[in-house]
Amino acid sequence: MAAEVAAGEERQARISGRDLVRALMREPMALLAVLFLFCLALAALFADWIAPYDPLMPNIFSGRLPPLSEAKGMTGDIQFHILGTDALGRDMLTRLLYGAQASVSVGVIAVAASGTIGTVLGLIAGYYGGRIETFIMRTVDGVMAVPSLLVALFVLFLIGGGLFNMILIFTFVRWVVYARLARGITLSYRESSFVEAARAIGARDSRIIFRHILPNMISPLLVLATLEVALLILAEAGLSFLGFGLQPPAPSWGLMVARGREYLREAWWMITFPGLAIFLTTLSLNLLANWLRTITDPLQRWRWLI
C-alpha cells in the first residue's frame, strides 16, 4: 500500500532542471563527482590556455623533479612544477591536462558515435522486427561474443595506434550495448497505447520512432553512456599503457602510468598522479551514472540496464 502511494507520487516525478540541481545538493557524493567531471571537461577543453608549459618539449635541466620543485627552463626562465616532472623533465601537471584532453575525447567521441549508431540500429530492430531485427541482433551477438579489448589490441596492432584509430575501433566494438538496450525498450513501447494512438492518427514510422519512442529512452541511454565513457577512458589508458594506443610523445594517462612504472621506486609521483586521474575520473563517472539512474524514473527504466 505504501508502494501504491509512492507510485502515485512517482508518476508526478518528472524532472526539471531546478529539481535536478536540488536533488544534486542532497547527494554530496554525486555533487563532488559532477564538480570533478566539470573541472575535468574544462581542463580538457582549455588545456592550451591553462597548462603552464609545453607538454612535449623535454627539459634536460629538470628530469624527475619531485612535486613543488623549481627548475630552470630550456629558455632560461624559472619554472615551478607543482606536481613534479617526468623522466624527460616535462611538467606533470601540463601533461595531465593534455592527457585529459586525449582521454575525454576518446571517451566522449567514441561514446557519441557508438551510441548514435547503436541506438538507431536498436530502434530499427525493435520497431520493425522480422528479418531486419534478426540480422541486426545476430550481428550484435557476434560482436558481443568476441572479447572487445583483445579485438582492439589486435586491430590497433595491424592499423597502428593513435587517437583516431582508437575512436574507430571503440565505436565498432561498443555500439552493440546501445543496440541491445534500445531494442529492448523499443519492444516494450512498440505495443504501447500511445504508439498505437500515434499510428491511429496517421503518423509515419519515422515520426513514431524518433518522436514517440526515442525521447522515452533518453534517460537509460544517458546512464549507459556515462558508464561507457568510464569504460572507454580505462580502455584508452590500458591500451596506451600496453603500447597499442596513443604513441609517445603524445600525452596520455595510460602512457604516463606505463612510463612511471619504470621509476616506481625513485619517483612515486610519476605513476601516482596519472593513476589518480584515471581512478578519480572513472569513479566520478560511475557515481554520476548511479545517481542518474536513481533520479530518472527509479521505477521503470533502470531495469533495462541489467
Partner: protein
C-alpha cells in the same frame, strides 16, 4: 431480411460495413524441437454494419477478441481475411499510404489514460500532432486557437495546453485523448473500454462527454466495454462477443430485456446491480472461458451451456434471426423463462 429486422433501430445510412472479418494470430509452440505453430482465433468471422450517427456496443469478457477487433478495424493490426467497407471502399485493400490518408475518418479512444498519452509531450503537442502529420488540415497559425477550442470542448482549460499528461487525473487524461481523436474531425470513433480505468464518479462525466460530442460532431461509435450497464446506456445496438464471435446482435432493448442466447442471459444475470428490481435469477456458469487456442468444436459456448445437446458439438450455429427480433447464434435460442 434478417439484417433489416435487427437493424431497424439504426439511425442513418450504412457507413461502415464489416464482412466476415477474421484475425488469427500464429503462436509458436513452446517445444524445443521445432514443433508446430498454433493459431489463436482472436476474431473469427465477424460481420456487422455501422450506421451514421449510431452507437454499436460490443460487450464480452476478457479474451473474447473485442480489443483485437478494434485494432483490426483501424488496421493497427492487419486482418487475416475479410472486408471493411467505409462507404463502398474496402479499407483492407488500401496500401499503406492510402490507409494513412483514411485514418482521419476513423479514430480510437483507448482504455488506459496513463499509457495512451506520450509522457514527454505537452497537451498541446499531443492534441495538435494530427495536424503536423496532415499539413493542410489546419493552417499552423490557427493551431493554438484550435487546440484551446478543442480543450475547452472536452472540459479542460486553455492553460492546460502547456502542461504534461502526468499533471492530470485519469479522467482529465481521457479528455485529452478525446480531444486528440477529435482533432481530425473523424466520422467513426472506436472507443475501447474508454471508462473502465476511471473512478466510478468520473465514468459518468466521460460518458456524458462522449454523448455530447457524438451529436455535435456527427460521430458514429463502436463502443467496446465489459461493463454491461454502461453499454446499455450509450448503445443503440449491442453485439455480444464470445471467443472471437458475435453470438447475439440486435437493438439494445431486445438484447437486454429479452436475450435469447444462453451466454447473454448468463452474462446479464451475473452482473451485480444496485436495483433490486433489476436482479434476475442468477445463472452461474460453470468453469471459465476456454482457451482461444483450442476452442470447442461446433458452438463455442457449448462447454459451459446448460442447453447444450449433441448437435451443438457437431454443428456450429449461424448468427441469424431465431424467433426474436435480434440475431442469435444458438440452435436453441429462446427467451428466458419468466
Amino acid at each position: 431480411m434478417a439484417k433489416a429486422a435487427s437493424e431497424s433501430a439504426a439511425v442513418g445510412e450504412p457507413l461502415f460495413k464489416v464482412e466476415n472479418l477474421v484475425k488469427h494470430f500464429e503462436v509458436r509452440d513452446g517445444s524445443l524441437l521445432g514443433g508446430g505453430s498454433k493459431v489463436i482465433r482472436a476474431v473469427d468471422d465477424v460481420s456487422f454494419t455501422l450506421h451514421r450517427g449510431e452507437t454499436l456496443g460490443i460487450v464480452g469478457e476478457s479474451g473474447c477478441g473485442k480489443s483485437t477487433l478494434a485494432r483490426v478495424l483501424l488496421r493497427l493490426v492487419e486482418p487475416t481475411s475479410g472486408k471493411a467497407h467505409l462507404e463502398g471502399e474496402n479499407i483492407f485493400d488500401l496500401n499503406k499510404h492510402e490507409m494513412r490518408l483514411r485514418r482521419r475518418r476513423l479514430q480510437i479512444i483507448f482504455q488506459d489514460p496513463f499509457a495512451s498519452l506520450n509522457p514527454r509531450m505537452t497537451v498541446a503537442e499531443i492534441v495538435r500532432e494530427p495536424w503536423a502529420i496532415f499539413p493542410g488540415e489546419v493552417p499552423r497559425r490557427e493551431w493554438h486557437d484550435r487546440v484551446v477550442e478543442l480543450l475547452k470542448r472536452v472540459g479542460l482549460n486553455a492553460d492546460d495546453a502547456h502542461r504534461h499528461p502526468h499533471q492530470f487525473s485519469g479522467g482529465q487524461r481521457q479528455r485529452i485523448g478525446i480531444a486528440r481523436s477529435l482533432a481530425l474531425n473523424p466520422e467513426i470513433v472506436i472507443c475501447d473500454e474508454p471508462v473502465s480505468a476511471l473512478d466510478v464518479s468520473i465514468q459518468a462525466q466521460v460518458i456524458n462527454l462522449l454523448e455530447e460530442i457524438q451529436d455535435e460532431f456527427g460521430l458514429s461509435y463502436i463502443f467496446i466495454a465489459h461493463d454491461l450497464s454502461i453499454v446499455r446506456h450509450i448503445s443503440d445496438r449491442v453485439a455480444v462477443m464470445y471467443l472471437g464471435k458475435f453470438i447475439e446482435l440486435g437493438n439494445w432493448r431486445d438484447i437486454y430485456e429479452s436475450p435469447t442466447h444462453p451466454y447473454t442471459q448468463a452474462l446479464l444475470s451475473a452482473a451485480p446491480s444496485i436495483d433490486a428490481a433489476e436482479r434476475r435469477q442468477r445463472i452461474i456458469l460453470e468453469g471459465e472461458v476456454p482457451s482461444p487456442l483450442s476452442p470447442p468444436t461446433g458452438c463455442r459456448f457449448r462447454t459451459r451451456c446448460h442447453r447444450a445437446e449433441d448437435r451443438c458439438a457437431s454443428e456450429e450455429p449461424e448468427l441469424s434471426l431465431r424467433g426474436g427480433r435480434q440475431l442469435c447464434a444458438c440452435h436453441f435460442a429462446a427467451p428466458m423463462p419468466a
